[in-house]
Amino acid sequence: MPLRETAPKLPPDQYEKNFAEIAPTLTPRQAAIEASRCLYCFDAPCTIACPTHIDVPAFIKKISTSNITGSARVILSANILGHSCGRVCPTEVLCEGACVMHEKGEVPIEIGRLQRHAVDYVLGHKIQLFRAGAPNGKRVACIGAGPASLACAAELAKWGYDVTILDRDELPGGLNTYGIAAYKTRAADSIREADLVRQLGVKFRQKVEVGRDVSFDELEKQFDAIFIGAGLGETWALNLPGEDLHGVYGAIEFIAKTKVQPLHEVEVGKRVACIGAGNTAIDVVTAARRLGAETVYLIYRRGEPEMPAFAYEYQLAKQDGVSFLWHTQPVRVLGSNGAVSGLECVRTQPGPPDAKGRRAPALVRGTEFKLEVDMVIRAVGQKPVTEFLRAVKGLVLNEGGTVKIDARHQTGHPKYFAGGDCTNAGKEVVDAVADGMAAARGLDAWLGSPR
């Protein structure tokens, strides 16, 4: 079934241009010059700020000495997903935000781009930096093939574990492959990164859903320990009338199309409304504009200062010509012939403070208005995979439905460890990597560190 009205097709080569990497790669000389700006701080704030504590001054120094392979080794030994983190990390609130250059009144070192420079080099030249450790006879299963699982699996494989990743998707990489704007990272890059983990002897079983295709009991029999890196599930519903109309999508579902389909084949409405104002919402509205949508609304029930997206992300959306409707809440999706034709909204104003002290938005009667749109995208966060998790006996869940873990990432069932979005309700890729590595250490300690 078609959308009511789709955006006119762009010239064929325009799609690739629109989704080209925003920050172009550095030439070797640019990288060397940028690297030489680094002061080589002692006990560097950037390293402290990084959830995976990459030794940033060390890898940058190596770029300035043309030891690019050595530089990538420093990065990837701290963070096997250094490739995607160099692209998708919100560096301005992590390493680059902590850079001493801010205090010096200069622009911070472009740590993210330098990281990409080094990691791109070893991936491009197919340089294998790590090898599997001598087998220790222990078997571990990792559920999910996203950043947390990949990081956990890589770490364990280096120590000699026999690791199998079980993932329900066709392609490995999790949200890196399916859920992050294409101009930040391409699915192919994410898959190439998963290959680094494969090179360590980790086995990948794609399109396998644990609990359906293989039971938890079987896993527990076959493996000495299990890591759950299942991430989050579907986007929360809006619970609005008309939400079942054709043309209403979840954010990840929409972004995934831009990652796995040829860009010119991705259907987009002429007018698009996106509900929510987080970083994923930004990925949605920028993608919609870059695919040719003429009018794109970002609808948020609070004001601009409360917007959860990073400043840098907001900037991107503004540059892409997105219209922001602050203090606005959708009340009904309108349709004609089964397809989305509009969105009825109402104005809000800050109401009394909620339990957390945030002023909850209150609807303002009589301010209802209609937007003519052909597509509505929900970007209001993803649900935890509560049902899936409940199937594991002994697993304890937090109030919000995430997995409860202890300091070494062990769950209520001692054989299960967990990390990433399924434990923290959704953070950055780099946080998931840090979690996966921490869980690997916890799991290794629990198994008596047989390496």
């Binding site: 030489s36 002692f42 006990d43 700020a49 935000g97 205090e103």
Partner: protein, 433 residues
Amino acid sequence: MADLSVKFAGVTSPNPFWLASGPPTNTGGQVMRAFDAGWGGAVWKTIGDPIVNTSSRYGAIDLNGVKVMGFNNIELISDRPTEVNFREIYEVKKRYPKNLVIASLMVESKRESWHEMVRRAEDAGSDALELNFGCPHGMSERGMGAAVGQVPEYTEMITSWVKEAAKTPVIVKLTPNVTSVTHIAAAAERGGADAVSLINTINSLMGVNLETFVPRPAVAGKSSHGGYCGPAVKPIALHLLSSVAKNVRIPTSGIGGIGYWNDAAEHIALGASTVQVCTAAMHYGFRIVEDMIDGLSRYMDDRGFKTIEDFRGRAVPNVQDWGDLDLNYKVIAEINSKLCIGCQLCYVACEDGAHQCIEPYKASAKKNANGFGVHVPRILEEECVGCNLCALVCPVENCITMKQVETGRAPMSWNDRVRQSAASRTPPMPSGD
């Protein structure tokens, strides 16, 4: 407006800025363009029996992305016939009578040859002569250049031959590739030289290509040592200049690492009457002289110096033997925590590379604009020896300063101690207090 003109060994230059003998002064066309740009004088590319040069012939080292911090060459003297050079000198002088053209000369070590060359240079209209006793490569292997300038007796002898024939001032250019440059300068003075210029280039290999194992600059898979110059050599030039300024009476022309007016002013403060520039002009062209003149004029105006002589040599008395320095003078480092950016380079430098007098940050009260802690370290004042290292490595201007502290002790140098202990017959050991 300060008067930049200088009298140098009997000739007057509109300003102290000369182009040194080298590629920028190879032809009349270049020298005339240089004079148009504002250069006061030009020492012509050394004239002698024409040579054949190699290809390639220059090398450079870069530092952290900054190009040509150091430069070297294996080029020889002029590869053009002497009569062409002299004819062009004549043409230049005819059009630019107020600018100085100094003929740099190098011939085989025969009295008649030198007499002949001096006569021809002066006939062409040269204002002065510079004897190239310093070229460190190629020519020295043929008994010229540094082969003369490294032996005081040869320097004195050939200088005296030149003086027999010369009517214009004779400048002897000194090589730094000797144990003591003052011996050579004194020999030139004994030989009758009217001035010395220094330094010529320093023996060097610019590096090795680690793929081919051929040093730079490469000539058909081989290389040879060449003359090193550029910004990196200024400290060496300043030291040798100051030691010559202290030991000879004749004027000096300073050469080595001059790219800006302040480099020139430092050479002048250490005694140079004129300065010579080559590498910077090779890097950026003749136009650099505009700011050299402008900057030096403003500097002099700001301090009330009316002429170059008002500050020339003013730093020379402040260059002393180590034994005469005051051992009771003490400075300690002070960190301005407001300016500190928290790189802790001072801490690691002091801890690993010096005297363990800085404590790393413990808790950062200071936050940057993004809310991240700024790691301000702390000077252990009672431990600080006042070495300067922290202040030198600190990337923020004026963040670490060296503050003088009163020791309550009268000035006392090592030589004072030796003299005192000789009088009291106690061993001359420092007290360590």
